[in-house]
Amino acid sequence: MAKVLMKGNEAIAEAAIQAGCKAYFCYPITPQSEVAEYLAKRMPEVDGVFLQGESEVAVGNMIFGAASTGKRVFTTSSSPGISLMQESISYIAGAQLPAVFVNIMRGGPGLGGILPAQSDYFQSVKGGGHGDYRLLVLAPSTIQEAVDLMMLAFHLADKYLNPVMLIGDGMIGQMMEAVEFPDNYKEPELPLRDWATTGADGREPRIIKSLFLDPALLEKNSWDMEEKYEKMKKDECRHELYNVSTKNKILITSYGTTARICQTAINELEDEGISVGLFRPITLFPFPEKALQKEINKNNIKAVLTVEMSTGQMFEDIELANKGSKPHEFFGRTGGIVPSPEEVKNKIMEMIKKHTVSSGKNKKNNRGK
């Protein structure tokens, strides 16, 4: 298929169609309403379901009901709306159903703002709803990657019978880039959908539920789920390296749009003769911890910098991998303010001075801006 120029939100919508998604439920919220507007026209063309619900609470539960049919379903929202969907996400995880959620993140907490942010990392990665569960969390940094990861999201949801969350900041939703959809999209084989409630015709009734009044059964369900998460950690970690070489003294970690801003900073510094590498997690859960440790532990790396559009959330997972082995600093802008490459460069230069010039005592884990 030829390349087309598309807005991120629309590309995400079309990717879902290309992945064979049959139903989309939504509630309007900025900055992702274009997904709904696109699918209001597009879903009927593929005999799919488009429905605008009365609230994000209802929409999440419509997804729950629709996923029970065994067909591919998804919804999109933005931070405050995703908060309202946490109820259904917890139930869908507990009932072990596949479903895809997209969060085009805006600044928070509360009503926050409508500009890009990455402040829902904790909510996505550490569990926004109640109970022992995890989401597979994917974080694209380009519109093309948003398309590719959307299609992967449906596959992973089906493979693991678990909700998948794709998180993009408002920039991913709003900017336009050239994208290409795969021709004749094919996926590896998936297990039979022998859990879908398709009517007890010639078979025993199927019950889709998350209630286990017997604690031994609930514990078993939780450990069965944990087994899935362990398998995800083993098989599904994804990351990308940029400009990584033995010349690097500082390693940046950053995801989504922020990683691209860091790339610009890295390119400009490279022109000035300063070499910096970037480790960009693509899956935020499972977190590519081992691959990151490998990079951090290289002798040429003197310090690690985490850059986010938040006050420091992924920072904690980076530190869990770093385990205090190298000085780890944070640079973040939040509330809808996008960091400039200049700001990132300044922070890098400050760290180079501090961690590579003198042999003095390094201050570790400094979260100051």
Partner: protein
């Protein structure tokens, strides 16, 4: 010994043989059976999915021989919507109590009815929260004593009981809304007729349907089973009149 025997009463195929967990005198068992008989008679069991609520009837799927989903509290109509939109060929019903439907789930039931989803809701109203131990519900009568209205429901502080059927009947979208009761055999037969009419409309892909069934809770009302049916008759019927509030073809003449 040759005898001509004819079965005149048996367990509906749509019900399992499990013993229910309901308290003595609770009318959930009767209402379950009326739904199961209807599924049998209309030949719907094999293509039906029920949606269980949160409340005493959360385990309803143990007693039905059809597929079931278990919804978060109050959200059964949202699950039913999502399912039915993808599988309009299947029969979808929700079974909800008054805490589930009339309190935490008011938004979902109103919008599901207003969209005219072709699903059926069995709304069991016994004017109290059962499973959590007898707290005040939106349908608790004025002056009724519950564990969270120990001096009786004070309408100056908590408002009056919510009349769901009356409210839903005001919507312009065509639907079938009827309130019935199961306090005596005559009313049980009327309830069966109403439930069958509701599922028939769904089978014909005509409209949303809701049957509000007045029910007893002897345990949390603090009454014996027979006192409870009497209390329902003497009290609930006064506040919650039994009637057909709306049929799908209502108002067609006046348009």
């Amino acid at each position: 010994m040759a005898m001509n025997t004819e079965t005149i009463f048996s367990r509906p195929k749509s019900m399992t043989e499990k013993v229910t967990h309901y308290c003595p005198g609770c009318t959930h068992g009767i209402i379950h059976r009326l739904v199961a008989e209807t599924l049998d008679e209309l030949g719907l069991r094999e293509k039906t999915v029920g949606v269980a609520p949160v409340g005493c009837s959360v385990l309803i799927y143990n007693y039905f021989n059809c597929d079931f989903l278990e919804a978060p509290h109050g959200r059964a109509p949202a699950l039913a919507t999502g399912f039915k939109r993808l599988r309009p060929d299947m029969t979808v019903f929700t079974y909800q109590g008054d805490g589930d439907l009339a309190s935490i789930g008011t938004s979902e039931i109103i919008h599901t009815a207003n969209r005219g989803e072709k699903v059926t809701t069995i709304f069991v109203n016994n004017a109290i929260y059962g499973m959590t131990g007898g707290q005040m519900a939106p349908t608790t009568l004025p002056g009724q004593i519950t564990s969270t209205s120990p001096a009786g429901r004070d309408v100056s502080k908590t408002g009056y009981p919510l009349k769901i059927s009356e409210m839903l009947a005001t919507l312009a979208t065509p639907s079938f809304i009827q309130r019935t009761s199961v306090h005596d055999p005559q009313h049980i037969i009327q309830t069966k007729k109403a439930i069958k009419e509701a599922f028939t409309y769904q089978k014909e892909e005509r409209c949303f349907s809701l049957i509000e069934v007045l029910s007893t809770c002897p345990t949390n009302w603090g009454l014996s089973p027979s006192e409870a049916t009497k209390w329902l008759e003497d009290n609930l019927l006064n506040f919650f009149p039994l009637k057909v509030f709306k049929r799908p073809n209502d108002g067609e003449d006046s348009k």
